[in-house]
């Protein structure tokens, strides 16, 4: 009897051991999968630092692209990226926040609101190159904006609109109802509640979304290629009120341009390996920029969660 019992106990112990082994194996597998993903990120970074760091110098930032790889730089590319981002931000931030405020605070629950909501979640899944086709057909040819900074900025603005809307809505939703009720009880109108309470309290969350959206836009290549941005640009957009003839305040909006990702694409697709070193250097700049923006957003979100206790 007791022999049988101890036999059973041993069997049980064996089963428990084997189950625990599975636990350990899976824990290891998880760490392995995780480190594979992170190693890729490290390898990517290392590859660019090794290839690109020697090319990085002040000249690289202040020179135009050139036929000679050693003298080529990213001046027109980073200026173009900066101006396109300016247009994107000026379009996407107000429109995105306004849509989010409408959907979260004003919209009644009806079929029209449903359509807008479904539509936004679908837009977030549309491939970026399709936005490029939209811009090509609508902005470039129908509206006649041409292959300009304005077209590109608006395209990327539309592209990141769902990101800005979704994060702004989350930020608004996380503000407790008590705040709204308190303000209404003091006689505030809806807009006063929104502009004096909800938007200020939601700012960190909204900012996170805006930064993530812009970091996505700055690395976006496909839609800008589709609208036909030139790849070899050795001049800068006109500065307002300067030059000959004198440029107008908004002339730069309609100027041809190139951006960082397009410059990288152009250099990567050349057979001469020296240009690929340029591509690595420009990629390094771009990736530091986007990862920096992402890290900023993550840090903001972290601080937000830590500091605010309603």
């Amino acid at each position: 009897m007791s022999a049988k019992l101890s036999e059973r106990a041993q069997l049980l112990r064996r089963i428990i051991r084997s189950h625990k082994r599975w636990d350990a194996i899976f824990g290891l597998l998880g760490l392995l999968a995780m480190s594979l993903a992170i190693l890729t990120l490290v390898a990517l970074f290392a590859q660019m630092v090794i290839d690109g760091a020697p090319r990085l110098s002040l000249d690289f930032f202040t020179s135009f692209p050139s036929r000679r790889a050693g003298q080529a730089g990213i001046l027109s590319a980073w200026v173009g990226s900066f101006l396109v981002m300016l247009v994107t931000a000026l379009f996407a931030i107000p429109v995105g926040i306004a849509s989010a405020v409408y959907l979260e605070e004003y919209a009644r629950k009806n079929w029209f609101t449903d359509i807008i909501e479904i539509n936004i979640s679908n837009l977030a899944g549309v491939p970026s190159i399709v936005y490029g086709l939209l811009a090509l057909g609508l902005f470039v040819y129908t509206f006649g904006l041409g292959q300009s900074i304005l077209s590109a900025g608006l395209t990327l603005g539309l592209l990141i609109l769902p990101i800005v809307i979704v994060t702004t809505r989350e930020a608004l939703r996380s503000i407790p109802q008590v705040i709204r009720e308190g303000a209404y009880a003091c006689g505030a109108t809806k807009w006063q509640v929104v502009s004096d309470h909800l938007l200020p309290y939601g700012t960190p969350g909204i900012l996170t979304g805006v930064i993530i959206g812009l970091s996505r836009a700055i690395g976006e290549t496909a839609p800008i290629i589709t609208i036909g941005a030139l790849t070899f640009i050795a001049f800068l957009p006109p500065v307002p009120f300067q030059g000959e003839p004198v440029a107008g305040l908004f002339d730069w909006l309609f100027s041809p341009f190139t951006v960082m990702p397009i410059q990288i694409f152009n250099w990567t697709s050349r057979p001469n390996p020296e240009f690929q070193l340029n591509a690595a250097a420009a990629s390094l700049v771009l990736v530091v920029l986007t990862l920096g923006m992402n890290a900023l957003a993550i840090w903001l979100r972290y601080r937000l969660r830590k500091n605010i206790k309603w």
Binding site: L29, I38, T40, L41, T221
Partner: protein, 321 residues
């Protein structure tokens, strides 16, 4: 707040009384109401921008594709086995591009789905709080890297690395582009799956543990089945990312149309074809110009189908707690 608080003040200084004061107040109230209505209208217009975007996309793609399909019969578009829109002898068989999209997405998903799921289960069920808080943001950085840089990485790092093991691999191939694409998609799969798993109520896990389950058993037999709808929609998001990915393929997979599912060969996909045409100098209104809209429409329909499938699955298999 300042603007509306200061407006009534001068009125109070005049010390209106009785009916006059009431009328004054009513006027202020009406003005505020009007302002609020106006603001609501402006906000509504902003919300409609996204609807107009969709309408714009559909309008542009359908308009140009309709012209395209007057030149090329739909049947040929679907069944022709060659894709040579820019040659003298034109053929428009979308199957050629779809084959490229299929094999590249296939490779990417073979990487992203297993790794993404394992990482999600690990982060949600195995890792402690600190590990999760540190690793999750780092993982999310993977999806923040611009895709053109992944393309560069696939072409100049992954391909030479695979060539050391398998020397016959051509410089441009679907395999390395797909592998890198898979790594890029991991965070999309893992983050959404993990959110779904974390939404499973603690009581279910506690029940399983009380019955003597190990972590692994709890994860596989309780948590994963309970969150399957969320996991499935994470997969679908991953698929639609893979299908729509452009620059990695344009850089690393070559852009020659090639009717094959073999990932060891170079091939064009629906997306990289659009890039290739856009890089050239096609006149507005030519048949070559319209092909990219037909290709874009195909792409949009595919991703839309996946989106709908995702919505349906979420609704069909949702477990409400």
């Amino acid at each position: 707040m300042s603007s509306t608080l200061t407006t009534p003040l001068p009125v109070m200084e005049q010390r209106l009384t009785g009916a006059a004061r009431l009328a004054e107040l009513a006027q202020i109230k009406a003005a505020r109401k009007r302002k609020d209505k106006l603001i609501e209208l402006i906000l509504l217009l902003a919300a409609c921008v996204s609807v107009f975007t969709t309408l714009g996309i559909v309008y542009v793609l359908v308009k140009e594709s309709l012209v395209f399909f007057t030149h090329v019969p739909l049947w040929d578009f679907l069944t022709d086995s060659q894709w040579t829109p820019l040659f003298e002898d034109t053929h428009f068989g979308i199957a050629v591009l779809l084959a490229g999209t299929l094999s590249s997405s296939g490779v990417a998903l073979l990487v992203a789905i297993p790794l993404g799921t394992i990482i999600a289960i690990y982060l949600s069920e195995f890792a402690n709080h600190t590990v999760r808080e540190v690793l999750k943001p780092i993982l999310e950085l993977l999806s923040g890297v611009p895709t053109i840089i992944y393309g560069y990485f696939a072409l100049l790092f992954i391909t030479p690395m695979i060539q050391k093991i398998y020397p016959d691999l051509p410089t441009f191939n679907i395999l390395s582009a797909g592998l890198v694409m898979g790594i890029m998609i991991i965070p999309y799969v893992s983050s959404l799956s993990e959110d779904a798993m974390r939404a499973v109520p603690m009581s279910l896990r506690e029940g399983a543990y009380a019955m003597g389950s190990t972590r692994f058993q709890t994860a596989m037999r309780v948590v994963v089945p309970a969150s399957i709808s969320g996991i499935a929609s994470a997969y679908i998001l991953g698929i639609s990312r893979a299908v729509g990915e452009t620059m990695i393929l344009a850089v690393a997979a070559g852009m020659q149309p090639n009717l094959t599912l073999n990932p060891l060969e170079p091939a064009a996909t629906v997306t990289s074809f659009i890039v290739q045409v856009a890089l050239g100098d096609l006149p507005h209104g030519s048949i070559g110009y319209q092909t990219i809209f037909a290709a874009g429409l195909t792409l949009l329909i595919i991703t839309l189908l996946f989106n709908l499938l995702g919505h349906w699955m979420r609704r069909r298999f949702r477990e409400a707690y």
